[in-house]
C-alpha cells in the first residue's frame, strides 16, 4: 500500500495540511527563495562564498540575489575556503547569521579545521557562553562528469562530529524548509545539496515554512521492506519502490534528510514493521552513513525484529571516475536498488 509522497512527507514532517500558494519550483529555486525570505526577515542573515554574487553561484543557486540584496549581503569571496569558513564562525559568534556556500562540497577538505575544531566545538569549549549560528551549503555528489575531486559525497564525516548538524534534502520542499530551519538554528548546520537535484522540480509553498531538523520523512508506506535513502538515493528509492510494487513487493521508503542527529525512532518503527532493511546512499559504502544506521539498528531491540541481514548499497570503493559509464557504475542506481530489495525479500539477503 502506498501514499503520495507529499502526504507521507507532511505526515511525518508535521507540516500543516493546507498551504497557500504552492507552486512547482526547482530545488535550486526553492533554496534561493528560502535564502531570500530569510534575508528579508532578518537583517543578520547574509550569503557569502565564491562567485555567489553577480555570477549567481556555480550552480545558479544564488541567482539574482546579488541584485536584490546588494553586494553588502551577497558577498563574493576570494578563493580561500579555510578563511571563509572561519569568517562564518567569527560573524556567527558576534551576532550575525552567515550562510556560506562552498562551491563544491569537495572543497570542504580545506575548511575542516574551522568547521570541526572551531564551529563545532566553540559552544561546548566555552561552556555554552558563545554559540555559532552558521549555515554552510555544500553541493555534492557525482553524475556530472566532474571526476574524482568534484564529485564526492563527504557528508558522513560530519555525522561523526558532535556540535554539528548535517542535512541532506532530496526535494525542493525540504531544500527550502530545512534551509530556513538551519538558519534559525543556533548551531552550525551543514547542508549537503546534490548537484543532480538542482533542476528537479516539486511543490513548494510560498510562505517561509520550516521543516524540522532531525526528522526523517516516510515517503512511502509499505510492509515488506524498509528502504532508507539519503539525498538523491531517496528519490531513486521511490522510483525503485514503484517498480517493486509491480513485483508485489510493498516497500516503505524513508528519506533520512538529517544525518546528525539521525531520526532513529522513525527508522526503528519502520523496521519493526517490515523486518527488513536496505540502506542506500551515495557516499563510499565503507564508513558511509549506512554504517551508522545499520549499527544503530543492530545494537537496539530492533535487532530482534530483523528477518535477515541489513543490506547497504553505497558508493564503490574507488575515487569517482571520469568515464560516464564507470561513473554511473560507481554509485547506486535505481536498478541496483530494485535488485537488492528483491533479493532481500526473496532470498533473505542482498
Amino acid at each position: 500500500m502506498s501514499m503520495p509522497n507529499d502526504v507521507a512527507d507532511k505526515a511525518t514532517a508535521g507540516v500543516a495540511a493546507a498551504e497557500a500558494g504552492t507552486r512547482e519550483l526547482s530545488y535550486a529555486e526553492a533554496i534561493r527563495e528560502g535564502l531570500a525570505q530569510a534575508m528579508e526577515a532578518d537583517e543578520r542573515v547574509f550569503l557569502f562564498g565564491e562567485d555567489v554574487g553577480v555570477y549567481g553561484g556555480a550552480f545558479g543557486v544564488s541567482g539574482d540575489l546579488f541584485h536584490r540584496f546588494g553586494a553588502a549581503r551577497v558577498i563574493d569571496t576570494p578563493i580561500s575556503e579555510l578563511g571563509i569558513a572561519g569568517a562564518a564562525v567569527g560573524a556567527a559568534i558576534t551576532g550575525m547569521k552567515p550562510v556560506l556556500e562552498l562551491q563544491f562540497s569537495d572543497f570542504v577538505t580545506l575548511a575542516m579545521e574551522q568547521i570541526v575544531n572551531q564551529a563545532a566545538k566553540i559552544h561546548f569549549m566555552f561552556g555554552g557562553r558563545a554559540s555559532v549560528p552558521m549555515v554552510v551549503r555544500l553541493p555534492g555528489g557525482s553524475g556530472t562528469g566532474a571526476a574524482a575531486q568534484h564529485s564526492q559525497s563527504l557528508e558522513a564525516w560530519f555525522a561523526h562530529v558532535p556540535g554539528l548538524k548535517v542535512l541532506q534534502p532530496s526535494t525542493p520542499y525540504d531544500a527550502k524548509g530545512l534551509l530556513l530551519a538551519a538558519i534559525d538554528d543556533p548551531n552550525p548546520v551543514l547542508i549537503f545539496e546534490h548537484k543532480l537535484l538542482y533542476k528537479t522540480k516539486g511543490p513548494v509553498p510560498a510562505d517561509a515554512y520550516r521543516v524540522p531538523i532531525g526528522k526523517a520523512a516516510v515517503r512511502r508506506i509499505g510492509t515488506d521492506i524498509t528502504i532508507v535513502g539519503t539525498s538523491i538515493m531517496a528519490i531513486r528509492a521511490m522510483a525503485a519502490a514503484t517498480r517493486l510494487a509491480d513485483d508485489g513487493i510493498d516497500a516503505e521508503v524513508v528519506d533520512l534528510r538529517c544525518l546528525r542527529p539521525i531520526d532513529f525512532a522513525t527508522i526503528a518503527a519502520s523496521v519493526k514493521k517490515t523486518h527488513r532493511l536496505l540502506i542506500v546512499y551515495e557516499g563510499v559504502k565503507t564508513m558511509g552513513i549506512g554504517a551508522e544506521i545499520s549499527a544503530m539498528i543492530a545494537e537496539s531491540d530492533v535487532f530482534d525484529f530483523l528477518d535477515g541481514p541489513i543490506a547497504r548499497l553505497g558508493g564503490a570503493d574507488a575515487p569517482l571516475p571520469y568515464n560516464p559509464v564507470l561513473e554511473k557504475a560507481a554509485v547506486p542506481q535505481e536498478d541496483d536498488i530494485v535488485t537488492a530489495a528483491r533479493r532481500l525479500v526473496h532470498e533473505g539477503r542482498a
Binding site: R44, F46, A72, T77, P78, S80, L82, G83, I84, A85, G86, A87, A88, V89, G90, A91, A92, I93, T94, G95, M96, P98, E113, Q114, N117, Q118, I122, H123, F124, M125, F126, G127, G128, R129, A130, S131, V132, P133, P162, G163, K165, P186, N187
Partner: protein, 361 residues
Amino acid sequence: MTHAATPSATESASAPSAGHAGGSGSGSGASASAIAQRPALAALDDATLAAALSKMHLIRKFEETAEASYMRGLIHGTMHLSIGQEASAVGSTLPLAVTDYILSTHRGHGHCIAKGADPALMFAEFFGKENGYCHGRGGSMHIADIEGGNLGANGIVAGGLPIAVGVGMSIRMQKQKRVCMVFFGDGATNEGAFHESLNMASIWKLPIVFVCENNKYGMSMDIARAMAVADVADRASAYAMPGSSVDGNDLAAVAAASSEAVARARSGGGPSLLECKTYRLRGHSKSDRNLYRSKEEIEAWRENDAIRRLEAELLAAHRFSEAQLREIEHAAQRTIESALEFAKASPDPDPRELTRDVYAQ
C-alpha cells in the same frame, strides 16, 4: 628591527626622548617635575600606566602561580606560559574598549587578563571547575571571556585569524564602532590561514588589528629558519596593509603602535599588521627541554624583562615612586592569591553533565 640573539635591553628605553613630557604626565606622586620622557611614555597618563603595570604583574604572577600549581600536580594537561611577553599583551590591548574584541592564542593568559578577565574565574577554569570561564570544559587553551570581549584562546595555531575576519565583517554589517584585535605568534604566520585572513581583511578594509607576537620561535623552530624575510611585518606589503615592527618588551612603544592601528581600524582605515618582538622566557610548554636555544640567549632576554624595564623607566621619569610600584605589585599578588583560593574552593562539574552544551538550544 631584526630579532637580535642578545637583545640590547634598554635600546628604546634609553633612547633620548624626542621632547619633553608635556602636560599629560602630570599627576600623582613623583611625576610632578618635568623629567625627560619618551613621547610614547608621556602619552600615557598615570592611571593608565598604573593599570598597565598592574596587569603585567597580574599576568606574570598568574602564570607563575599556575606553573607552581602544575608542578604540584594540581592542574593537569599542559600550559603555554607567556612569561616575558607581558608588555606585548598589555600594550596592544591598552587602546581597546571593553566592547572591542580580541581573539587569542594557546599562549593567551596575558591577552585574557589584559582584556580585563577575572583571574579567579581563569584559575577556576584551569582547575577544571564548574565556575571557571568555560565551566571547566575548556581549560588553559580555550579560556574565553565573551562578555569581556575575549572571544577565546585557540588551540589551533592561526585558528583565530579567519575568525577575526568574520568578526570584522560582523562589526561592519552591524555598523558598530568596534575593533577586533587578533593575536598570533611568529610561527602562525606560516599557516595558510594567515595569508587568507590578511588578504580578506585588506580587500574589505575590515576594522582588524593583526598582532603578531614574535617570540623568535614556533615551538622550537627559529623564525629565521621558518621564513625568508627578516620581519613578520615585511609580509604586510603583500596585502597592501600597513605593517610595523616594535620592541615588544617596551610597553609604551607597543601601546603607541597599537593605538595608531586601533585608531585606523576604528575610523574605517582598515586593518594593520603589528609585530611585537618579544621572547618567551619559559619553554614552549611543560615538556620543552630548551634544546633549540642557548642558556645565554634566555639569560640575555631575562635581562630585557618588560616589567623591570617599565618600572625602571617610570622611576627614572619620576612618574612613580618605588613605594608606589611595590604597592602595585603587592596588590597584584593579593589578587592572584585570592583568585587561587577561589579556584581551589570551587566545585567540580557534575560528570553526568558530560554532554551539556554540545548544542545550543
